[in-house]
Amino acid sequence: MTYLLGIFQTIGVHTLLGLSAYLLLLTGQLSLAQVGFFAIGAYVSGILTVIFTWHIFPALAIGAFTAGFFAFLVGFPALRVKGLMLVVATISFSEIVRLFFFNLSWRVNVNGLEVGPDSTQGFREIRYFAANGWEQIHIVGLIWFVVMVVMVGLWWLDRVRAGAVLRAVGTDELAAQSSGINLTMVKVAAMTGGGVIAGIGGGLFAHSTTYVDHHTFVILLATFAVSYPIIGGLRSVMGTLLAVIFIQGVIVEGLRFMGDYRNLIFGLLIILVMNLRPQGLLDGHLLEDMKKLLGRLTKGEKADA
């Protein structure tokens, strides 16, 4: 049971990471800064609960806000560049954040214990949940509650004008600009939103694992974050969740018995998926088919009645 809950925990946190990249990918921007925001959220909310002994909810909120604020700040200069340049600029940002926390040492005495980030040793004492009698099922519940809220929010976004604006920028910037859309504003808004989502994810991650260090926040994680929405498909927010379950649940956990050879199969499976379904697992055709099927089913019920 603990093992299963652990998997749910991982899938939940990774879904948040994937969704933060998804929001930005809608505008056609491929960003590897998500892991930087994730790290900011993790460290800030961790410092708030550990050093300042805050309650978890305001700490998560401030962590998300800080990550969003940095996303906003970075968005303006970074989104001036596109494509490859944006990838490299965002890699640089993530690495600067990682190296900052790598060097950050802030040890404080709280209730007779020395706690806080300890540069290379990592940040070890994020035990809010254990100290306040939360059980693992509660933690998983909290994570999935946040995931659901974010997913419903993004699903709703696709049904209002803002979502259409995001996709318009993603499809054709020139056309979007000609119809009076402020490109910079849209992109920075998407970046900020992505930053907030990644920040919450980081906070939840730090508190559910009780320990973070700079190794967690390497570019590999950022690459995972952008892979989820791309492998899942950008047509629907469900694609990201599907891809996270496919990668974290099926490939990483399901192939655990293969031991060290898992990553070989991992690479092969991703290549296979990308070659067979270049638009992602859940692409436009599949969505249409599913809608038709759903329509037929509901129609059938009506006919019966």
């Binding site: 944006l86 892979s227 791309i230 690479g267 092969l268 290549i271």
Partner: protein, 298 residues
């Protein structure tokens, strides 16, 4: 005097970065893609060399040739699996994710070949040269020479031969090159192979100067190559060389002035600044400044 010594060290390291940058510039020039698995290819070459060397007993030069061959083979493998199937413009993101998957795969093979955390990588034993108060390590001087020779050979290949002409034509415009009879898909393969060879040379230089290798080497060299190319200017081969030298100089000076902890932060800060102020890099070619190219997504 210290400034001079630091600068000289920086140039020596910079020459290896220049080779890494050149490999990236070659791939980017012809494919307009970045290859995330590049460092993993070098790691694979080096791992293969360390694995095979005791069986063959060829010494440091054996390491050199196996590293080079392994990296080139791995690079060609990456091209076949990740870049050849997604050569259309719409396949850019797909190709990048695919190369990410291969990166994981090559990393895994390498860690199977190198079970421990650090492995010795035999260097060339050469005496240190002294010029007054300035010292140059003999092997580093040799590496500098090797880098220079590699760059000159690459120049001859690209600017004096028919193959080079075809490669440059494809980099300019793949469509017109294809219409004029160039085998563009085959050229992509050749360029990845070439980039692997250059990268292999750089990997040997870096690893034998350090004397050891860790599994982190892969990502490290991806970063250095990417940064050298970006600072120097995307699409320009000369830019990649200059970018590599600048990167070496900045790194050693930042390390000397601020300490090792801040060295990498300074480097990444510089990259961010260069990108924001001058998105094409210092010597970026016009191709990348035109709107059409700027619209291209990775």
């Amino acid at each position: 005097m210290d400034v001079l010594q630091t600068s000289l060290d920086g140039l020596m390291i910079g020459s290896t970065y220049a080779l890494l940058g050149l490999s990236f510039a070659l791939i980017f020039g012809i494919m307009r893609r970045i290859n995330l698995a590049f460092g993993a290819c070098l790691l694979f070459g080096a791992a293969l060399a360390i694995y095979l060397e005791p069986l063959l007993g060829w010494g440091a030069w054996g390491l050199f040739f196996i590293t080079m061959a392994g990296a080139a083979l791995a690079s060609a493998y990456v091209e076949r699996l990740c870049f050849a199937p997604h050569s259309k413009r719409s396949g850019a993101v797909t190709a990048m994710i695919a190369s990410f998957a291969i990166w994981m795969q090559l990393d895994e093979i390498s860690s199977q070949l190198l079970p421990q955390r650090t492995h010795a990588y035999q260097g060339l034993e050469l005496p240190t040269l002294w010029l007054g108060e300035i010292s140059v390590r003999g092997d580093q001087l040799l590496h500098f020479g090797m880098a220079l020779v590699s760059i000159i050979l690459l120049y001859i290949l690209l600017y004096k031969t028919r193959l080079g002409l075809l490669i440059r034509a494809t980099a300019d415009s793949p469509e017109s090159a294809y219409l004029l009879g160039a085998r563009v898909p085959w050229l992509g393969f050749v360029v990845f192979f070439l980039a692997g060879i250059l990268g292999g040379v750089a990997a040997f230089m870096i690893l034998s100067a350090d004397g050891h290798i860790t599994p982190l080497f892969g990502l490290w060299s991806t970063f250095k190559g990417l940064i050298a190319m970006i600072i120097g200017g995307v699409g320009s081969l000369l830019g990649a060389v200059v970018g590599g030298l600048i990167l070496g100089l900045v790194e050693t000076h930042a390390g000397a002035a601020l300490g090792a902890e801040f060295r990498d932060m300074v480097t990444f800060g510089l990259v961010f600044l260069v990108l924001v102020i001058r998105p094409g890099g210092l010597m970026g070619v016009k191709v990348y400044r035109t709107d059409n190219a700027a619209q291209e997504r990775v």
